[in-house]
Amino acid sequence: MIRLAALLVLLALLAPLPTLLLAGGAADAGEALRNSLLTALPAALASTLLGTAAGIGLQARFLGRGLALALIGLPLLLPPAIPAAALMLAAEHSGHGAGLPGAVLWHMLLGAPLVTAIIWAALRRIDPALFRVAAACGVSPGLAVRRIVWPRLLPAMLLGAGLSFGLSMGESTLAVMSGTGTLPVAVLSGAGSVAAVIWPLLAAVGALVLVLAAGQPRGEAPPPA
């Protein structure tokens, strides 16, 4: 009963995506795709690097840690029209249009809290006893980091990068407001070839699922069916 309701909700969530494939026009989406990639790739890269650094740094206790947490999470809790308008105003002040640099900045700040949370959780799962064991076995600290931290950090970074890339590819608020021709805007105006927006997304999320599923830490009690 509850499973059926869940299935219906999931179907309702996914319903708008196939209709896009049916309605897709064949108009040129090359320019829009280029703009979207030019936004999403730097944004994903920057949010992964900065988010990873923050996720590692937040393991420590320091003065102002709560404030840092609140600020890092802030972009997710802002009504999106506000930062979009604010970035347009800032771009106007600096004498440029609110083009791609503003979008890169905003998408980066949207993705970074997700990366931070993923990295933080991944590092939290490492059993500190492993480091004592490594030291007792005469392993150098550098090797211990390579063998213990790195294998857990890398999938988390990949997951974060994939998430922020996907988020950035779809994020449309700033582009719609300022009229920048990215893929979502092209879809909105019915001009873009729709497969071009769906497939990178599907690919990103597909990779994500695999990393997520493969990255499940072994040895944990499997959740019951």
Partner: protein, 373 residues
């Protein structure tokens, strides 16, 4: 020295988190501060009428201002006329701003400028005096407010009010529309949060209880429409739902559902199945298990989900613009103002959206954390 390389010192930790924090301050907090600043700033009239601004600073607002004000206004308008095209544009901008406060000033300012230019400067004042619009204290008060700092005009206009010359507030001409926008924005966000709260539960339970691989696939499928973005979702729903404000609301609420499902599912999964199972074994009814065990377990996730859905719904305008262009919400009015470069209006709307959003989000997150402790 600690053997754990992850146990960083305070300084190292702070330095690692610093770049992102600084970028949030520079990239979000500072621009929003600028936007909010514009809500109390007047930028249209004061640059066009600098002498009048100085003269009106001395006026106490009782009766009509003295002759000096008439003279300086005439001088300012004559200077603008003499400036040619840029001057005419400045007059038009100033007139548009004044007309938003007092509709009759839409004509009075350019009209006076035209007539005073036809006569010599020393007589220009008399054409001003002859215009009935400048014999009304209400209009002078509007002019004074339009060159003042800080100005409450935009903030009041966003909730449909205006100052009266004799003090106090009254309904502005755009009052009903302004309040309907805000009402649609907040009502929609509240309803969307409630709808998500109810719809999210079955799916969150499914994800929380599934085997790891299936849970990952289900979570990714839930995430997919969120990553597709609001524009893509709205375009995809359009052929299925058609136009209208109900369709726009459905698209908004369904689109934000993953933001509720995933935190709730995560909270339930972290809590594990033991407690509800034990409770059921001990004879609690399914309703009691839900009410006493699962709901408290999911509390943090529910609070986070509500905060995310409410704030995102409050600031989303893409679906509303595409599907219900005739019934703008506060967010779509904000987007329209930003596109038109009306930063005073945009700033005021941003202030009225931002403060409740941050307040609600802060309270919800606090509520969620208290449950976890």
């Amino acid at each position: 020295m600690s053997l754990n390389p992850l146990r960083l010192g305070a300084l190292k930790g702070a330095l690692l988190a610093m770049p992102l924090v600084l970028l949030v301050l520079a990239g979000v907090a500072a621009p929003i501060g600028l936007l909010l600043w514009r809500s109390v700033e007047e930028t249209e009239v004061a640059p066009a009428l600098p002498r009048t601004q100085r003269a009106l600073r001395l006026w106490d607002g009782k009766g009509l201002p003295d002759d000096l004000a008439f003279e300086t206004l005439a001088t300012d308008l004559a200077a603008l006329r003499a400036a040619g095209v840029p001057g005419a544009e400045a007059i038009e901008r100033a007139a548009r701003r004044l007309a938003a406060d007092r509709p009759e000033l839409a004509q009075a300012l350019p009209g006076t400028a035209e007539r005073s230019a036809e006569t010599i400067t020393s007589r220009a004042t008399s054409t001003l005096v002859a215009d009935p619009a400048w014999g009304e204290a209400e209009n002078w008060a509007a002019l004074q407010r339009a060159v003042a700092w800080p100005s409450s005009f935009h903030l009041l206009a966003a909730i449909g009010l205006r100052h009266r010359a004799e003090g106090g507030f009254e309904e502005s001409p755009q009052g009903p529309q302004a309040r309907a926008q805000l009402g649609r924005g907040f009502g929609g966000a509240l309803l969307a949060t409630l709808a998500c709260l109810i719809l999210a539960w079955p799916l969150a339970r499914w994800i929380a209880g599934a085997a790891p691989r299936r849970a990952a696939i289900l979570a990714a499928a839930t995430l997919l429409p969120l990553l597709a973005g609001e524009a893509v979702r709205a375009a995809g729903w359009l052929p299925l739902l058609g136009m209208g404000s109900v369709a726009a609301f459905a698209v908004l609420a369904l689109g934000l559902l993953p933001l509720m499902v995933l935190p709730v599912a995560l909270a339930l999964r972290q809590a594990g199945p033991r407690l509800p199972r034990a409770a059921a074994t001990l004879g609690l009814s399914p309703w009691q298990v839900f009410r006493r065990i699962r709901l408290p377990q999911a509390r943090g996730g529910i609070a986070l989900g509500c905060a995310l859905v409410f704030t995102q719904a409050l600031g989303s305008f893409v679906a509303a613009e595409l599907l219900a262009p005739k019934t703008p919400t506060a967010a779509s009015a904000l987007a329209a103002a930003a596109r038109g470069g009306e930063w005073g209006t945009a700033g005021a709307l941003a202030a009225f959206l931002l403060l409740p959003a941050l307040l609600v989000a802060g309270l919800l997150l606090r509520f969620g954390r208290r449950g976890a402790a």
